[in-house]
């Protein structure tokens, strides 16, 4: 899971850097291309939380993930690169970082 999260983060970093510094606006398509992996990660994360985490924490994190997904799909629907970058850089990133560095 950490490997999946790290891989997704690398891709997101690339997309965000190219958007911020080089004005590349193809981020939505590129993020959509890794959507299956994002969904896989979120599914496994939620299952793990349901098994191991405190109920309240689980609810909070799940609500947060719902918010991220809502914004994600809204960004796709409107082809809104600003919302998409905001969602993945500040929303999805936090969710991915939950599973990075766990092994340390």
């Amino acid at each position: 899971m950490e490997k999946l999260a790290t891989g997704l983060l690398e891709e997101i970093n690339k997309i965000c850097i190219e958007y911020y510094y080089f004005n590349k606006t193809d981020g939505i398509k590129r993020i959509q291309s890794i959507q299956p992996q994002i969904m896989e990660y979120l599914e496994v994360l939620i299952q793990t939380l349901q098994k191991n985490a405190d109920a309240e924490d689980t609810v909070n994190i799940c609500n947060y993930i719902n918010g991220v997904l809502e914004d994600y799909f809204e960004a796709v629907k409107n082809d809104d690169i600003v919302l998409m970058i905001d969602t993945v850089d500040y929303g999805l990133r936090e969710v991915l970082e939950l599973c990075i560095g766990e092994a340390d």
């Binding site: 911020y20 809104d80 600003v82 919302l83 850089d89 500040y90």
Partner: protein
Amino acid sequence: MGDNILNKNLEAMKKWYPEFVNLINEKLETYVKDSGISIEGELSWDDYPIYTVTKGERTLYLTGKRNVSKTLETWKDKVGEVMKEAPVILVGMGSAVYLKALCEWMPRESFIVVYEPCLDIFVKTISEIDLSEEISSRLIAFVVDSINEEELKPIIWKLVNSSTIQFLKTEIHPGYQELFGEKVLECIRLLKDRKDSVFIGLNTEIKFQNSMAANQLINMKYLLEGYNSVSLTKTIDYNKVAILVSAGPSLNDSLEGLKKAKNKAFILAVDTAMKPLLKAGIKPDAFVMIDSAKPTKLLDMEEIRDVPIIVPATANYALIERQRNKKIFYFDGHYLAQAAYLSAGKVLPAAASAGSVSTSGFSLLYKMGFKTVILVGQDLAFTHNRTHADGAHEDKMPEIDTTKYIKVKGNLEEEVPTNEVFKSFLDWFEDYIKGAKEHAEFRVINATAGGAYIEGTEWMDLERAIEENCIEEVNFEERIDAMESDFDEDGKEKVKKFLKDIPDSLKRIKNYSVELRKSYEKIEKMCNNTKLNQDNYLKHLKKVKKLTKKIESEAIYGIVSSTMALQNYIVTSESLYEGSDMKEDGKAIAVQGKNYAEILKYCCEEIIDLTENVYSDL
């Protein structure tokens, strides 16, 4: 609350541009929101005001909602350092978070231009976001669609020049490309056009710097003969119809038709059209040449030497001196020729240029008072995929691949291929014709057999244009042969005296440059001391200013400066780099100043020898 913030913002703007505030107030009286878009405001998770804009089926965020603060930090990093007095153009205002961020970290002396393509966003922002502190503490120029959008071009033209171009920053607010793509693109195109024109000017200046200096100095001998474009106008005593013949690819299709215009219209050719014309047996009444480094090969036909030439003093002297007929001058902004005329109590008449022999020729004809100008061979495009008429540069001009070129409206075809340079000349023609028509009765018939459509002209077949307009017979050659000098004997003596003083003027500049260097050395020494004596420092800066004024007041300075074009560019653009305090600034000024003084001395030395040789036998 909205009114309060609006009033505060307008009060702050009044300090800088009360007229703009009047325009805003006028607009607000009849303001109705655009039904095509709706704007919602909300607060980001970190409490910044942000907007979403709905247009049609889409709703777009103009700023992210989670972490605006971090986004602005990243943006600041991307924009990079902004130099003092450098222009920053922000396309799109949004909820002003980017504008406020800029104001926080940019030097106060930098200029911010905010172009807002959406009136609704502008009204919402100035009504809801307090920008009074930012607006009152620095100059921010707002250009808003439906209020003062016509000011965008003049502002860009003024701000973007050879000193500022490398420091210019342009940022497009997120979301604006998607929402207001056309207007954003228009703004970016204006910026690109301006940057291109600055670079073309700079490249031209650098390319021709040395030949221009030599040309001006040597051509003074011919200027002394006293023929100029006003004396030409008086001599030919005719202002009905002129034909400007350019060397566009369609000229070949017009040569037969042009024969019928001889002695029925004043025929002015551009230099590159001379060979094709003379080979077809058509001798123009005069031709115009502006190029300071024109290859002699392009005019190496014996018959060309007998056609009167109209030139600025910067044109290639090697070609001018070959001419056997009248050498007629006009003022193109390079001061030496004008100074020579003024010394005799006369004025050398001016014509605009825009960097092309066709635009110069056109301006000349307008200034000469012609009521109708017929354009021939003025393609401004690659008609038949060729750059010029056959015979201009080569006997048969090759075809080129124009598939990737920009397209413009054609005279005979729907679209024709052109390039940035031709397009800039096309824009010049259109602006010039528009301005000319506002001031005088002026008709432009475009009889170019192809090429780009020029707004303000009437396209007409050449045969018909000549038949309907070229009626009166005039022997222009005879009249020009009888042309008298604008200088009487006394005037000529005064001009000779002025020219003979040039070597001494150069020696004066050289001496000033030595003193200038010494002053800069003193400034540098002062700034290297631990404690800077401010009074002394300012005293020497004052001396530098005085010396610079003396140098620049010498009539020959323009020539010297033109030989330093590249060095000037480096020095003036480096002036925008700034040190962290007065001592650092002073050191930077001193280093630049010493370089400048050194180059100035060197250039003077180079030119003194030339002028002593050229004017010794006057």
